[in-house]
Every structure is written in structure tokens, then in C-alpha cells.
């Protein structure tokens, strides 16, 4: 095989994927003068986010249909998935993911992934948290480096939400965060009564990757409420922002439309098979960093290791959504409010068990038809009811720890990934317990959990896929070393959620980024 790559002064590191993990690693390597070559399957994601304020636009704009509905037939129908997946601007992000990455999801598993520069962070909820030593699992051995990485990443992307509350240590990020964004009237009521909660539920301000103040070309959040459809102000962080900086860096090469189909290990290098508009080619690399998203990375890894038809465990966070009604606020009108989480909570169902984590949002964040089509009332009755109730309602979601999910992923002889999901019987009980506990606790704050509104999401619809090939202290061939190297495939490092040792209920993106940053710094030192 002739090597047609131009000679480079230093060996290059190939990074597959430009999501949060890929860009964090790339930036860490570039800082230390290491050349990087990023391969991204999709194109640079062009955000068509609407501008203005949601309430103003709702009453006046005749162009609303463009960003709420889109020109093509909208994906209509009440599947139990996040409304985010129905936003027309994200269609280019999500369409064709399973097909391109050769993944077959079983009927019980809802698969979604992103194909674009910036990955899933183009459409995320901006929730951030750091893991404590228990949650870090094997990564607790390198806790000091993780802490340093958390600091670096947090300062780079800009966090807000710092507040002296019961969840301060749970999040563990306040030392890097700007103060919390203001709450709207409904959330203020809950917030002011939080002392009435009994043990089991702790309420705190949401910690978000959202800038409160303008800085470095990004504007601060002004609570315009258009979050679901994309942030035109740049207040919400997305990896596409870092990607733009990387593209401008002299030591970095970013290739869009380059899809990695296979990884092959030879004696001294890894061969990366790349498919692009120009055809297929092979890149030889000494070090390959896999950051294509847990499922795509796992498929590449398993296929590269030739682990055919051997299922491994895939974790995700089972989740449910619910609606709270605050009778005191009944009759009020909708006010301008952020569409992202305003308050978060930690729910302990049993002492000693892993806690659940959840968020509360303003109902303005979600289009009304999502409610209308889920109510067991005829539409003409649902509309006046919702018009009167929703301004006094809060939407909530709750996540369970990944250990309670039961999914498996394997690769078949043709290199296609198969995901299957089992119904965990204990999960139904878990949902019931969560329902009852949340009902009880929120009633103390003056909020009623509306009957029939507690809806478990479809398995996999949370998009928090992780821990397939976790980092371990003494890794087997299906695990990664502390330095992130995949034991079964030398030269390949796993940066994204696939290598997280554990998946607790809290937001895990920041931890993935910190881990990627740590691994990259370790590599740069080796270089």
C-alpha cells in the first residue's frame, strides 16, 4: 500500500468526530503544539435559529412556520420523545444517522444521533455537572487531573448557575460558574418555598453552559425563550463554536463530509478507512482518538477488534416527563422566560440507592401542540383548558441512573451494529415510586403533579448513551486504560461517552469533555 499522505514534520493525531469530546481533545492538543486531523461525517452545521423574543414572534411573525414547522412534511405524531427531535432546523442534524453509521436499532430502542460539526451539542439542553469520586468510578484514580480538566473546560465554555443551595456540592462547579440566571414567577414560587421539602428531594438552581454576560463574540442570555429552536445569540454553548476556532488554527486540519467506516490495526499503525465525496481512502495514524459519539464509536471499536456477535452493555438514562400545576398562579399570563432548565432537583428514592436527577422548565419552552395532542380531550376542549392552565404550569423531567437501563449493542459479521433493549421490570416500579415521591414533595411547594401527565419516555430517547467500553483500572480487552487507550485496539483512544466508567443520572456532557481534555493532555505529554 503506497502511502500518499504528504510528509509532516510531526506525527499527526487523527480525531474522529467533532462533538464536545472531539473538540475538547483537539483544543488541548493544539495548545501543546500537536498537529491534529479532525474527520467529521457531516457538514458544518448552519444554525437557522430565529431571532427576537418568543412571545413577540408568536403574536406577530408571519414567518413562524419556517422555524417551527419547516417546508417539508413535519414529523408529526406523539411518540414519547423530546420535542427537540421535531424541530425542523435539526432535521439535517438527525436525518440518516442510523443509515450512515450502519446501526440497526431494535423496535424497543429509540435511536438518535447527530451528523454535523458540533455533534449533538447543537441541540442539547446545556445541563452541566461534575462527577464526585463515587460517580467517577475508575476515573477517581486520576481525580486531580479530572478536576483540572473540569476547570479548564468550564472556563472555556462559560457556565452559569452558581448559587448557595442544596445542590452546590452535587454539581461541584460553582467555583467556575457565573451566578444563576433569573427565575420566572412560577419557579420563584417553588424556589422560595424550598425549605418546606422533606428529606429525599433537594432543589437547586440549574447549572447550565449558558453565558450570562456577553464575551468573546457571544451574547449573554436575555431569556428570549427561543432555546428549543437554537440560540441565535450564541449564549448557549455548542461544540460548533470551538470547531470554528479549531478550523482557524494553523496546526489543525478539519475535513467535513469524511465518514470513517472502519478501523484496522496493523503492527505499527492504525488504518483509518475514510469515505468521502472524493471516494474512499485510508489514513495511517499512530494515534486515533475516537469521539464519534458512543454508539458510532462503539461500532468502530467492536468491528476493529473483530468482536463479532458478542453483545456488550450499553447504558442510557431512563427518563420520564411530567407537568406541575401551581394553583396560586392560575389566571396569569405567559411571561418571557428561558426555555432551558431553571431549577434542578435530586431525588433519592431509597437511602443508599443512586439518586435520580431532574429539571424544571417553563411551559413556554415547548410548543403547545405537544400538549394538545397528548391530552385525552377533544382538541376544541383542550385548547381553552391549556390556555388557562399552562401559564401556571411547569414541565419537569426526571432521569434515572444508567445502571437501571438494560440495552445491549453488538456488531455482526457485516460490520453493522445492532442494539436491543429489554424491558426492565424494576423500572416500572421505579417510575411509580418516582411519580409518587415527586407528587408528594411538590405538593409541599404548592404544585400539583397533574394526574396522567407523568409519562415515561421511550428507551433510548434520552440520548445519553454511554459506558460501552469503560475505563478501568486493570482493563480487559473490552475496556480502556486510564489513559483512554482501548486495550483491544492499540493506538486507538476512546474519548466520548463510550469510555465513561459509570453513567449516573446527572448531566454527563461536561464530564465527557473533561475526560477528553485529560486524555488529550496525557497524549501531548507523551508526544
Amino acid at each position: 500500500m503506497i502511502n500518499l499522505q504528504p510528509p509532516s514534520p510531526q506525527p499527526r493525531v487523527v480525531i474522529v468526530g467533532t462533538g464536545p469530546a472531539g473538540t475538547s481533545a483537539a483544543l488541548a492538543l493544539l495548545e501543546r503544539g500537536v498537529r491534529v486531523h479532525l474527520l467529521e461525517s457531516g457538514a458544518a452545521f448552519a444554525s437557522e435559529a430565529p431571532q427576537g423574543s418568543l412571545l413577540d414572534l408568536r403574536f406577530t411573525s408571519t414567518q413562524q412556520w419556517r422555524w417551527q414547522l419547516g417546508p417539508a412534511a413535519p414529523s408529526v405524531g406523539a411518540g414519547n420523545v423530546s420535542p427537540k427531535l421535531r424541530v425542523p432546523a435539526f432535521r439535517t442534524l438527525f436525518d440518516g444517522y442510523a443509515q450512515l453509521n450502519q446501526i440497526d436499532a431494535g423496535a424497543g430502542f429509540h435511536l438518535t444521533g447527530a451528523i454535523a460539526g458540533g455533534g449533538l451539542s447543537n441541540a442539547w439542553g446545556c445541563g452541566v455537572a461534575s462527577f464526585d469520586p463515587d460517580e467517577l468510578g475508575a476515573l477517581a484514580d486520576v481525580a486531580a487531573e479530572m478536576r483540572q480538566s473540569y476547570r479548564r473546560v468550564s472556563q472555556r465554555i462559560g457556565l452559569s448557575g452558581a448559587s448557595d443551595d442544596a445542590l452546590r456540592d452535587y454539581f461541584g462547579l460553582d467555583q467556575h460558574s457565573a451566578p444563576a440566571l433569573p427565575l420566572d414567577r412560577l419557579h420563584t414560587q417553588l424556589w422560595e418555598r424550598r425549605t418546606r421539602l422533606r428529606a429525599g428531594l433537594d432543589l437547586g438552581r440549574a447549572r447550565l453552559a449558558v453565558r450570562a454576560q456577553a464575551s468573546a463574540g457571544r451574547q449573554g442570555c436575555n431569556q428570549c425563550g427561543l432555546c428549543l429552536w437554537g440560540c441565535a445569540r450564541g449564549a448557549m454553548w455548542s461544540a460548533a463554536m470551538d470547531l470554528a476556532a479549531i478550523c482557524a488554527h494553523p496546526l489543525a486540519t478539519v475535513e467535513f463530509g469524511a465518514h470513517v467506516t472502519e478501523l484496522e490495526h496493523t503492527g505499527d499503525a492504525t488504518l483509518v478507512h475514510v469515505q468521502s465525496a472524493h471516494g474512499t481512502r485510508i489514513i495511517r495514524a499512530q494515534k486515533v482518538l475516537l469521539a464519534a459519539g458512543t454508539i458510532a464509536s462503539t461500532r468502530l471499536a467492536l468491528a476493529g477488534m473483530k468482536l463479532v456477535n458478542q453483545p456488550i452493555r450499553l447504558q442510557s438514562n431512563p427518563m420520564a416527563a411530567f407537568l406541575l400545576f401551581l394553583p396560586r398562579q392560575f389566571g396569569s399570563t405567559r411571561e418571557a422566560a428561558s426555555g432551558l432548565a431553571q431549577l434542578s432537583f435530586r431525588l433519592r428514592l431509597q437511602p443508599g440507592a443512586e439518586p435520580c436527577f431532574g429539571n424544571l422548565f417553563s411551559t413556554g419552552a415547548v410548543p403547545m401542540h405537544e400538549f394538545i395532542t397528548r391530552m385525552p380531550l377533544s382538541g376544541r376542549a383542550a385548547l381553552p383548558l391549556l390556555r388557562s392552565l399552562l401559564p401556571a404550569c411547569i414541565v419537569g423531567n426526571v432521569f434515572f441512573a444508567g445502571a437501571r437501563s438494560a440495552h445491549e449493542i453488538s456488531v455482526n459479521a457485516a460490520g453493522r451494529a445492532q442494539i436491543s433493549s429489554r424491558q426492565e421490570p424494576s423500572m416500572r416500579e421505579g417510575f411509580q415510586q418516582a411519580h409518587a415521591a415527586l407528587s408528594r414533595q411538590f405538593r409541599r411547594l404548592g404544585a400539583w403533579l397533574l394526574p396522567g401527565s407523568f409519562v415515561p419516555g421511550a428507551p433510548g430517547a434520552d440520548l445519553h448513551y454511554a459506558s460501552t467500553l469503560p475505563i478501568a483500572r486493570h482493563p480487559s480487552s473490552r475496556e480502556c486504560s486510564l489513559a483512554g487507550q482501548l486495550q483491544g485496539l492499540p493506538g486507538v483512544y476512546l474519548l466520548d461517552g463510550a469510555s465513561l466508567p459509570r453513567l449516573p443520572a446527572k448531566a454527563h456532557t461536561l464530564t465527557i469533555m473533561a475526560n477528553a481534555d485529560r486524555i488529550a493532555r496525557g497524549l501531548a505529554v507523551d508526544n
Binding site: L55, R58, F59, T60, S61, T62, Q64, W65, Q68, L69, P71, A72, A73, P74, V76, G77, A78, Q329, F330, G331, S332, T333, R334, E335, P367, M368, H369, I372, T373, M375, P376, L377, S378, G379, R380, A381, A382, L383, P384, L385, L386, R387, S388, L389, P391
Partner: protein, 429 residues
């Protein structure tokens, strides 16, 4: 579609498959001629004159027994011609013609397809029906294929269809005959397809097939025709019995065209059950799409959109919203109207259907999908936003309480109306 013989166009051989057609200048005949020619058949008209689309004309007359040479060189014969005079002499001659035709076809190994009628029955009230039955029996024993079309509509108005269309345009009040006679409408192009399909499957000989869709009431048919003609349809219930005497009197004066016999045969039309035999591989168009041309189909969709919008929020939709609805349906490639406005009556009926009950009915699922689409379209319409959101201002408990009560009242009346709404929706043919 399993075809035992490929159509000539598919065979790629010219001059091979020739179709003989009697009654080629008639209502069904013209449609069949067009269809066959477009599929590569060479149509030979057997009758009183040449017809557009046929390559050859051979003279034939229903009153004279045909000779064997009439069918020379043909592969299939379709016998559509019928005696329209209603006189006994003609009926006899018609019978002789058909029997001779069948004999010649059988002798020369040609497939014969005969167009009978839904009213064909041994004890049919009309002479027409009885004569058709007699011919059928004779032809079946000669191994011909017999097709009984339902009520043929669409295309150029002709026959009973044309007569009803004229009626609808001229009468200010239409009769809602009681008890309601049921009809089985089918589009003339579908009927032509059935005949052509049968002509290619000679092994079906000796059997009776139906070319008809589902059952539609007479009133519904008149409503559809009135809608198509853009006239408003007003009905007055008229018992069938009351019409018999005036029609009998009129029959004396005006001849067989308005006779009590026809009314009788309408009222006593034999039922075509859903299990009745149809040509294998053929399916009728669905009602009412079967009689809508593209222009009307667009109109039907716009009316459906307006109806859905009215059902959803009780307000008129701007035209841009209606157009966008149609556009979304066309993009999805499933753009036919699910129903026409009179079929469901008031939009409140539509609003009363249960949005959540589990169902496998594809029509109901499609309706729900469209209702969801309508909600999304309404939500992005700035002029209709005040149905969703209160205008900014201080909280007003009273307004909210009024809305809750309004919702309760609407839900209650929807539930009361629900069984009727479901029945109406299901009884769409």
C-alpha cells in the same frame, strides 16, 4: 398484478394483440378504447361507425345476427353494446346477437367478455335486468367472462350518471328517497381497467365478476354530484312509493325514459357484498376520489383543511394556512381528501372523535395525523395566536375560570356527540 398474457406494449411485438369491441362509441366503450390503445392493444370497433382510437371498423348491428367473419383475426372480444330502446323486438335481437357472438368466439378460441349489469337478475323488476340475465346465462355456458359493473360515474357525463348530473343542476330541491336506495359507484376508467384486465385472463371464463366499489346511498351520491357541480344541495324526503304513480303516468306520455320500472330497479338493486367476486388484481377507486378530477381534488383538500381548522379552534383559517396544509400533504405523497365536508356534517362532529382511543383503522389514524398537522399549522399563525395565549397583562382569574368551564362544556358535548360522529365517519363508503 398477475397477468397471464402480457399487454402488447410489454411484449414488444406490434400487430399481435387485437381487441374487438362492440359499443365502442358508448360511455364505457370510449374509455375502454382509450385505455386499450394506450396499452398497445389494437382496437377494432364492431358497430355502427368508426371510433377515435380504433384502427379498424367492421360494421355490425345489434338487430342482425353476426357472421363468423366479424371476429376474424381478433384475440379478444369485449361486448359492451346494449339495446337502449327497451322494446321487446330489440331485446330478442340483442339476445340472438350475443349468443351468436359467443358461439363464434368459442369456436375460434377467442376470449369473450360481456358487460352485464348490476340489475341483472332472473326476477328483476325491469325488462332490462331480465334480458341481461338471460344473455348472461347463455354466455356463461359458452365460457365467456361476465362483468357486472356498478353505477358508472366520471369522465364524460353519459348514461345514468349524466342524467343524475343534469337532475342535480336543474332541480332546486333534490329528492331524498326513503327508504334510501344504495348504489355501488365506480369510475368509468376503473371499469375499463376491469374489462381490459379480464380480457387478458381467459381462464376466468364461465364466471361472473363485479366491477364496483363500496356501497353509497343515493342521497350521498346526489350530494357528491352537487358538490362537484358547485351547486348547493337541498333535500326533501320523498317516499319512494309516492313517486311511482306520477312516474307511471309520465311513462305513458314520455316513454321508457322516465318509467316506474327504472325507479323500481333502483330501489331493488341487488346488493353487491364486499366479498363478491372481483377481477383478480383489480381494485376500484375509493369513494369519493373515484369521481374527482385533479382540480376538484385540490378543492376537496382545501375544504378538508378549512373543516379541520374549524373543528380545531372554531375560527376561519386564512387561505395561506389552507394552502400550506395541502402543500404538506402533497410533499408526503398522500394527498387525497379523507372525506368531503357533507360526509361528516358539522365540524363539531369531527371535533368529537376521540383523539386517544387505540385503533387500527388506517382512515382514523390518517385523520389523527392530519389533525395533528392542523394543530401545528394553526399554532404558527399569528392571527390565531390569541386562541393559544392570553395577551400580556395582569393575571385574571375570572378569565381562566371561564376557560376551564368552557373546556368542560365542550368536552361534555363532544362526548355526547361521539357515538354519532364515529358512526358517521365509519359509514363513509
Amino acid at each position: 398484478m398477475q397477468r397471464t398474457r402480457q399487454s402488447p406494449a410489454a411484449q414488444g411485438n406490434s400487430g399481435l394483440n387485437r381487441l374487438g369491441l362492440t359499443g365502442a362509441s358508448g360511455y364505457i366503450g370510449q374509455a375502454l378504447c382509450r385505455l386499450a390503445a394506450s396499452h398497445g392493444w389494437q382496437v377494432v370497433a364492431l358497430g355502427r361507425g368508426a371510433v377515435q382510437g380504433c384502427i379498424e371498423w367492421r360494421p355490425a348491428d345489434l338487430r342482425k345476427v353476426p357472421e363468423r367473419a366479424l371476429l376474424a383475426g381478433l384475440d379478444t372480444v369485449v361486448h359492451l353494446a346494449a339495446n337502449t330502446q327497451g322494446d321487446h323486438m330489440g331485446a330478442d335481437a340483442e339476445y340472438q346477437f350475443a349468443v351468436a357472438l359467443a358461439r363464434h368466439a368459442q369456436a375460434q378460441g377467442q376470449c369473450l367478455v360481456y358487460c352485464s349489469s348490476q340489475s341483472a337478475d332472473k326476477n328483476a323488476p325491469s325488462a332490462y335486468g331480465r334480458s341481461k340475465f338471460a344473455i348472461e346465462t347463455a354466455l356463461l355456458s359458452a365460457n365467456a367472462i361476465v362483468i357486472r359493473p356498478g353505477m358508472v360515474l366520471g369522465g364524460q357525463p353519459g348514461g345514468l350518471f349524466g342524467a343524475l348530473l343534469g337532475l342535480v343542476r336543474q332541480l332546486p330541491i333534490l329528492p331524498d328517497l326513503r327508504p334510501r336506495p344504495m348504489l355501488w359507484p365506480v369510475h368509468v376508467d376503473s371499469v375499463a381497467e376491469a374489462f381490459l384486465s379480464a380480457a387478458m385472463q381467459p381462464e376466468l371464463g364461465g364466471q361472473i365478476f363485479y366491477a364496483a366499489g363500496g356501497a353509497v346511498s343515493f342521497k350521498e351520491l346526489l350530494q357528491a354530484l352537487a358538490w362537484r357541480a358547485r351547486v348547493s344541495a337541498r333535500f326533501a324526503p320523498v317516499p319512494l312509493l309516492a313517486l311511482r304513480l306520477p312516474l307511471r303516468v309520465a311513462g305513458r306520455f314520455f316513454g321508457a325514459r322516465c318509467s316506474a320500472e327504472r325507479l323500481d330497479s333502483l330501489a331493488r338493486l341487488p346488493i353487491i357484498s364486499a366479498q363478491a367476486q372481483r377481477i383478480p388484481g383489480w381494485s376500484p377507486g375509493t369513494w369519493p376520489q373515484a369521481v374527482l378530477r385533479r382540480r376538484e381534488s385540490n378543492r376537496a383538500l382545501l375544504e378538508e383543511a378549512a373543516h379541520l381548522c374549524q373543528a380545531a379552534i372554531g375560527a376561519r383559517a386564512p387561505l395561506s394556512l389552507l394552502r400550506r396544509y395541502v402543500q404538506h400533504l402533497r410533499v408526503r405523497d398522500n394527498a387525497h381528501a379523507l372525506y368531503l365536508p357533507w360526509q361528516l356534517g358539522s365540524p363539531l362532529m369531527l371535533a368529537s372523535l376521540d383523539p386517544m382511543s387505540p385503533t387500527r383503522d388506517p382512515a382514523l389514524l390518517e385523520l389523527r395525523w392530519r389533525q395533528h398537522l392542523m394543530w401545528r399549522l394553526i399554532e404558527v399563525e399569528p392571527t390565531l395566536t390569541d386562541a393559544f395565549l392570553y395577551p400580556a397583562g395582569p393575571p385574571q382569574r375570572l378569565r381562566a375560570v371561564r376557560d376551564v368551564l368552557r373546556a368542560g362544556w365542550r368536552e361534555l358535548s363532544a362526548r355526547l356527540r361521539r357515538p354519532f360522529a364515529v358512526r358517521r365517519f365509519r359509514s363513509r363508503p
